[in-house]
């Protein structure tokens, strides 16, 4: 279990997160929603150790991450940032870097690493893209390539900061299905999302953030029943139950 216990964090003197406590389990997809500036991305960065904590602690399976080196943390948690560079490399070269935390100096990727990357690409159905340069891919394909990188990293937890940004709706749905599958396969997946119907449709649990605090967590139906969404976002959601499925949509 990945636990954030009473963490306060921010950038320089500006504190963003205020006493945030939340846990993420393996085999579940948790989405974090909240207005711009509510601290969603900051929370993921603090969990990953990218920004220092002012107070509180992050624990993995009960052990404080302060006891881990950066490399050890990267062997347990993968993180994909919101703004991704498009480096001049192929998909397989990118994914090989997912093995980086598992190697020691001088880091040379082995046949075993290459076979792990090959499996990751296969799992995401993008083996055919292996030798394509990242710059030649569409946004959706590129996002999948980055997810393959985090799969190759072979961690228990994957933190995704706005993975659906800049994707058209069909690619958003494809990506969320992929992410959901990863959770079903045993990974603990945390995704920051802006699209509420998408978050409610795919998540096992939703965390709602506002002004640097987590104001609610729970299964989508539970969050839906509360008047929270209107209070936080100023919009309303409709829940439509159909024969064999359900969906959420904005009430216009």
């Amino acid at each position: 279990m990945l636990e954030l216990k009473n963490i306060c964090a921010g950038y320089g003197k500006r504190q963003i997160l205020k006493d945030v406590s939340i846990f993420f389990d393996k085999s579940e997809l948790v989405t974090v929603i909240g207005p711009n500036g509510s601290g969603k991305s900051t929370m993921l960065k603090a969990a990953m150790g990218i920004i220092p904590l002012i107070s509180g602690e992050v624990c993995i399976d009960g052990e404080n991450t302060n006891n881990f080196s950066r490399q050890q943390t990267a062997q347990k948690i993968a993180y994909l940032s919101q703004g991704k560079n498009v480096p001049d490399m192929t998909v397989s070269q990118l994914c090989l870097h997912g093995r980086f935390p598992h190697l020691s100096y001088p880091r040379r990727y082995t046949e075993k690493d290459k076979s792990i990357v090959s499996s990751a690409l296969k799992q995401l159905g993008i083996s055919a893209l292996a030798n394509r340069p990242l710059s030649s891919l569409s946004g959706g394909m590129r996002q999948n390539a980055y997810i393959a990188l985090s799969l190759a990293q072979d961690t228990d937890y994957i933190l995704l900061d706005e993975p659906t940004s800049y994707l058209d709706i069909s690619h958003q749905l494809e990506l969320m299905k992929t992410v959901k599958t990863l959770a079903k396969q045993g990974k603990g997946v945390v995704a920051v999302l802006h699209d509420l119907p998408l978050a409610f449709a795919f998540s096992d649990r939703i965390a709602v953030m506002k002004d640097g605090e987590i104001i609610a967590t729970g299964p989508p139906k539970e969050i839906y029943r509360q008047p929270l969404i209107r209070e936080v976002f100023g919009v309303e959601l409709d829940y439509l139950e159909q024969e064999k499925s359900y969906r959420y949509k904005y009430k216009l």
Partner: protein, 339 residues
């Protein structure tokens, strides 16, 4: 064409590049040793080994051509690798040791050393490294402090460059005897290379290049962006500083040998990147090979084109480098897509 045959083709292209590069390196070294105001034949050079370099040709080979050719190969490699590293670390392909102030920092240090009577040896190389490192760290820290974009970073480099050049010029103004060396130094030339200057610089450059060749994956991971690199367990601040330090050793030592050679660090990595891609494990060795060959050929041209007159190699390199720089700007539509 499927992806595995594409990969085979790419590997074949890289092998061809290495072969061409090595051949070019050998040819440029041979031309560098044999051509000049007094031409030397290979047989004459072989003969001079047997008679202990006692002939005029043997002495020219041992004391003039050999150190000069070696220095041009080593400086070319050092500056090209330094440029490739700096471009990767600060994520800007317009960056190079001569553009972001690294060479000027080393230049100021060498000018100060000359004013203090230090003309060669390890001390000169170390001071040149310190100057180069101070300059690159100043640009890097200022850029981080103001949250500079990639374009602004180049402007910062230009500002630091101007400031450091003004300091060098001030030293030359107040201590005119330094100026005798300074004119050649500013454009870059190899005529004053001696073994006492060549050896310490060669050792430092070789060590830095070897270390850099073991850190190619780290350099590639840095290009994924700050957060992604950190999330892969990299201490990005430490790695950036280490890379800039090694790049400064390379540029500083090259400047201590040959003066302010411009554009090598820009042209060569760019040309290599266009053919071989940006993967550091290919970019760095190929830049070293082609950088060495390029500077050696330019120096041979500088000595022979207007023989018996010799023009500083920096002039030839600037004539080639400036149009190439403009070409990059045009291709990159003002720099937006360059980084």
């Amino acid at each position: 064409m499927n992806s595995s045959s594409k990969s085979c083709l790419a590997n074949k292209r890289i092998k061809i590049l290495y072969t061409v590069g090595f051949l070019l390196l050998v040819v440029s070294a041979l031309l560098g040793i044999t051509l000049g105001t007094t031409s030397l034949s290979i047989s004459e050079i072989v003969e001079s080994f047997k008679n202990g370099f006692s002939t005029a040709g043997g002495k020219i080979f041992l004391y003039v051509r050999l150190p000069r050719t070696a220095a041009s190969l080593i400086c070319g490699s050092a500056l090209a690798v330094s440029g490739a590293v700096i471009q990767g670390v600060i994520a800007n392909r317009l960056a190079s040791p001569s553009i972001i102030g690294v060479n000027s920092g080393a230049g100021l240090a060498v000018t100060l050393c000359t004013a203090l009577g230090i003309y060669g040896g390890l001390r000169l190389s170390l001071f040149a490294f310190l100057g180069a490192f101070t300059a690159v760290m100043a640009v890097s820290l200022l850029a981080r402090r103001i949250g500079a974009s990639r374009g602004t970073l180049i402007l910062l480099g230009v500002a630091v460059n101007s400031f450091l050049n003004a300091l060098s010029d001030s030293v030359v103004t107040f201590i005119p005897e330094v100026g005798v060396m300074s004119n050649d130094f500013k454009v870059g030339e190899f005529s004053s290379v001696t073994y006492s200057r060549l050896l310490p610089a060669t050792v430092l450059i070789s060590l830095s290049i070897i270390i850099l060749f073991t850190l190619t994956n780290e350099l590639d991971v840095l290009t994924l962006g700050e957060d992604n690199a950190r999330s892969l367990g990299m201490n990005t601040s430490l790695m950036r500083t280490l890379f800039l330090m090694l790049a400064a050793v390379l540029a500083g030592c090259a400047v201590s040998l040959a003066g302010l050679l411009s554009f090598v660090g820009l042209i060569v990595p760019h040309a290599v990147r266009r053919v071989a891609g940006s993967k550091a494990s290919r970019l760095l060795p190929l830049s070293a090979i082609f950088g060495g060959a390029f500077v050696c050929l330019c120096d041979t041209g500088a000595r022979t084109l207007f023989s018996p007159y010799e023009i500083p190699v920096g002039i030839i390199m600037a004539f080639l480098g400036a149009p190439f720089f403009v070409f990059i700007l045009i291709k990159g539509k003002g720099g937006h897509t360059l980084a």
